[in-house]
């Protein structure tokens, strides 16, 4: 019970070991941690890269014993896209949020230089999203849905010869961003002997080109042996199948050929079981940790340096947080002012231009207006003239009428009253008629009327 150390103990991190005299309960700590994690649930994100038709979806279906319903894609995609889908799986009390990201159209184009870029962009985008969340002032990291890719399954075509140049190029650009596990798809088309040679060739090519693939960790004694053996089996030659075939009274996942049945879970037939072991049962946590501690940190470092942050100032002195932020903020502020100024200039310029255009339009319209006014004026004068002419004619006619009436009354003295009345009526009617028809129109029509009335006059006078 007594402390097994004498005096002169440092009072800081030169910690001394305590010897316990009874059960404290510290050994329940891993359990507490695990319980908390179970409550929160786990996240795992797999990226599958491979040519169309190499068996990505089938393999994933076989790995997780479910059919994820991925639509089959054609070979005629114009460029490479990525399709991500998230599923919630539960086994005993463990909830797993599994995200499967697959390439669509990889290797189908005629020009393949840009094939790997969308993939790199996607991986970077997930890192970026996490970084943004981490840099927020009010953040909630513990409830953040982690979408960073934890493992990349790279499907190699079972040609039996060597890696394609597209494969090399893609893997080289991804190896510092994600854990790559290369696998040989549709491995039932390669014979056993060819397979061995193929694997050796692939690994040597990867090594000679400096591609860093994921090595299963060998530092923990319980799994180091297994992991070391598995490391020697890379790349895994896999066969996937979701169909079940009856073999010896058992339904197994297999592919049926006329010459035999390839069983997915038979270790002699393919490395599917090894892949599942390594990927899920042994190293899932390690994959997640590597992604966070290594790949993400690298990304973060590069990104922050890009943004101009430094841990040390220009004379290599450590810069405090405050100074760095102040400097950055000041810089940003100046930049913003400059941009504002620029925008203002552009705005002023545009305004000037618009004003000029509008002025021109104004002048045009003004000219038109003048023109129209003039026309209008001319019309009015014309019409005035017509009116005067008509008025003159009216006056003349009234005089004539008066004269005619005078003659009528003189003639009527010796005629019967009815007749006079008739004549008057007639005359009146005629007069009235004329009045009704009298309007300010063309001279022609007026003349016509004038003509008819002179005619009736003449007729009457003739009578």
């Amino acid at each position: 019970m007594a402390a097994s150390h004498g005096a002169g103990q440092p009072q800081n991190d030169g910690c001394r070991s305590l010897s316990l005299s009874g059960h404290v309960g510290v050994d329940s700590l891993p359990e507490q941690l695990v319980n908390k994690s179970i409550k929160q649930g786990f996240c795992f994100n797999i990226l599958c890269i491979g040519e169309t038709g190499i068996g990505k979806s089938t393999l994933i279906d076989s790995l997780f014993n479910t059919s994820f319903d991925d639509p089959v894609s054609t070979h005629f995609q114009p460029n490479v896209r990525l399709r991500a889908q998230t599923y919630e799986l539960q086994e005993s009390n463990v909830r797993l949020k599994l995200t499967i990201v697959s390439t669509v159209g990889f290797g189908d184009q005629i020009k393949k230089e840009e094939s790997y870029q969308p993939i790199v962009d996607y991986i970077d985008a997930q890192f970026e999203a996490y970084l943004q969340e981490e840099l927020k002032i009010k953040r909630s990291l513990h409830s953040y849905h982690d979408t960073r890719i934890h493992v990349c399954l790279y499907f190699i075509s079972p040609t039996g010869h060597s890696l394609k140049s597209l494969d090399l190029l893609t893997m080289k650009s991804l190896d510092s961003k994600v854990n790559i596990i290369p696998i040989i798809g549709k491995a039932d088309s390669v014979s056993k002997t060819e397979l061995q040679k193929f694997k050796v060739k692939l690994m040597s090519e990867l090594v000679s080109n400096g591609v860093q693939i994921y090595q299963f960790p060998t530092d923990d004694e319980t799994v180091s042996e297994i992991n070391a053996i598995m490391n020697g089996h890379l790349p895994f030659a896999v066969v996937g199948s979701t169909e079940e075939v009856k073999v010896e009274n058992k339904m197994v996942k297999a592919r049926q050929y006329p010459w035999g049945i390839v069983q997915v879970e038979d270790e002699n037939h393919c490395d599917f079981v090894k892949l599942r072991e390594m990927l899920i049962c042994t190293n899932m946590e390690d994959l997640r940790e590597q992604t966070h501690a290594q790949h993400y940190e690298l990304y973060r470092r590069c990104r922050l340096e890009e943004m101009g942050f430094r841990d040390t100032g220009p004379e290599n002195k450590p810069v405090s947080l405050q100074e760095a932020y102040e400097a950055k903020r000041h810089e940003f502020y100046i930049e913003m002012q400059r941009k504002e100024e620029e925008m203002r200039q552009v705005f002023v310029q545009r305004v000037k231009e618009k004003e000029a255009i509008l002025k021109e339009a104004e002048q045009e319209i003004q000219a038109k207006f003048e023109h129209l006014k003039r026309l209008h004026q001319e019309e009015r004068l014309k019409l005035e003239k017509n009116r005067r002419v008509l008025e003159d004619e009216m006056a003349m006619f009234i005089k004539k009428k008066a004269a005619a009436e005078l003659l009528q009354t003189q003639a009527l003295v010796s005629t019967p009253v009815n007749f006079k009345k008739d004549k008057d009526r007639k005359k009146d009617q005629g007069f009235r008629l004329e009045l009704l028809c009298f309007d300010v129109r063309d001279e022609q029509t007026v003349n016509v009327h004038g003509q008819t009335l002179r005619n009736t006059d003449d007729r009457r006078s003739k009578r």
Binding site: M1, H5, Q9, Q11, N12, C15, R16, S17, L18, S19, L20, V24, G25, V26, D27, L29, P30, E31, Q32, L33, V34, K36, S37, I38, K39, L63, F64, N65, L89, E91, N93, L96, L135, I137, K138, R139, L141, D220, T222, E225, V247, Q263, D266, V273, E277, I280, C281, M284, E285, D286, A293, R301, M307, F309, D311, L321, Y325, R329, F332, M336
Partner: protein
Amino acid sequence: MFKGPVESKNEAAMSELVPEPRQKPAVPMKPMGINANLLGYIGIDTIIEQMRKKTMKTGFDFNIMVVGQSGLGKSTLVNTLFKSQVSRKSSGWNREEKIPKTVEIKAIGHVIEEGGVKMKLTVIDTPGFGDQINNENCWEPIEKYINEQYEKFLKEEVNIARKKRIPDTRVHCCLYFISPTGHSLRPLDLEFMKHLSKVVNIIPVIAKADTMTLEEKTEFKQRVRKELEVNGIEFYPQKEFDEDLEDKTENDKIRESMPFAVVGSDKEYQVNGKRVLGRKTPWGIIEVENLTHCEFALLRDFVIRTHLQDLKEVTHNIHYETYRAKRLNDNGGLPPMTVETEENHESNL
């Protein structure tokens, strides 16, 4: 012939039910039996084993602070909690040491290993608290210390090249010792807890509980709880951080029995043929770990065996985040990632 993941996996799955760390059995390469159920088994739950192994390798950190006036039995209690000579009194100091004139903060680190689990325990003592004639603002050095630890962590976190594991010196738990007057809380107690309950998890304990009878104990506890509630002081486990119904019911039970009335001792006596930790008095032996005598066992189970991880998480996810947000806001915030978008500018400044 069906070969697949086999029985040992089932064992691994069941080991979680037994609350003891177990080594994961080695993966067999040859089939050891055929189990048709396993057609549907994938192995996702093995992640628990993987996680457990990893944490056992990396070990845990825990920083506990004890605050209270001299002579309340702080050092003895800490020694009893961790069943060893932890406190500064046993590492080279003696009881005749003068009481300091101001509050000092002394942190001592220890390593505890039990059942394969390594824990780095730091006990932070605050001699001089509440011992002066004028105790105004004696919580300030303590608050300053706690904030300094947050600051240290923040500085490490925003570095460009970060360490793999940032050393955690933040105070996870603060045990506040209440004097067993039997009446009510002192103004100093209230002031301290009011100031500090927002920055750290406070667990109030009633010290030297063997001076109170059972009825006095229950009454005192009720009064203390009432006073804390009236003053708006939330001690750990805080009501607002209960995550779900299960948590709430469990924590409600604990809250009802807090503050724990404890007795500490590092001496062993023979009682009923067993050796137990206790205090010998003329009228009997007070057994520290006997629930009918005092609530030490409850406190120990609560702090170490069930809620240690939660204490750390509340400190990290809530207290630390609050400090960080305040700090970044005061400082003008981090410049936004993309220079073009105005909205980022708004939200971060």
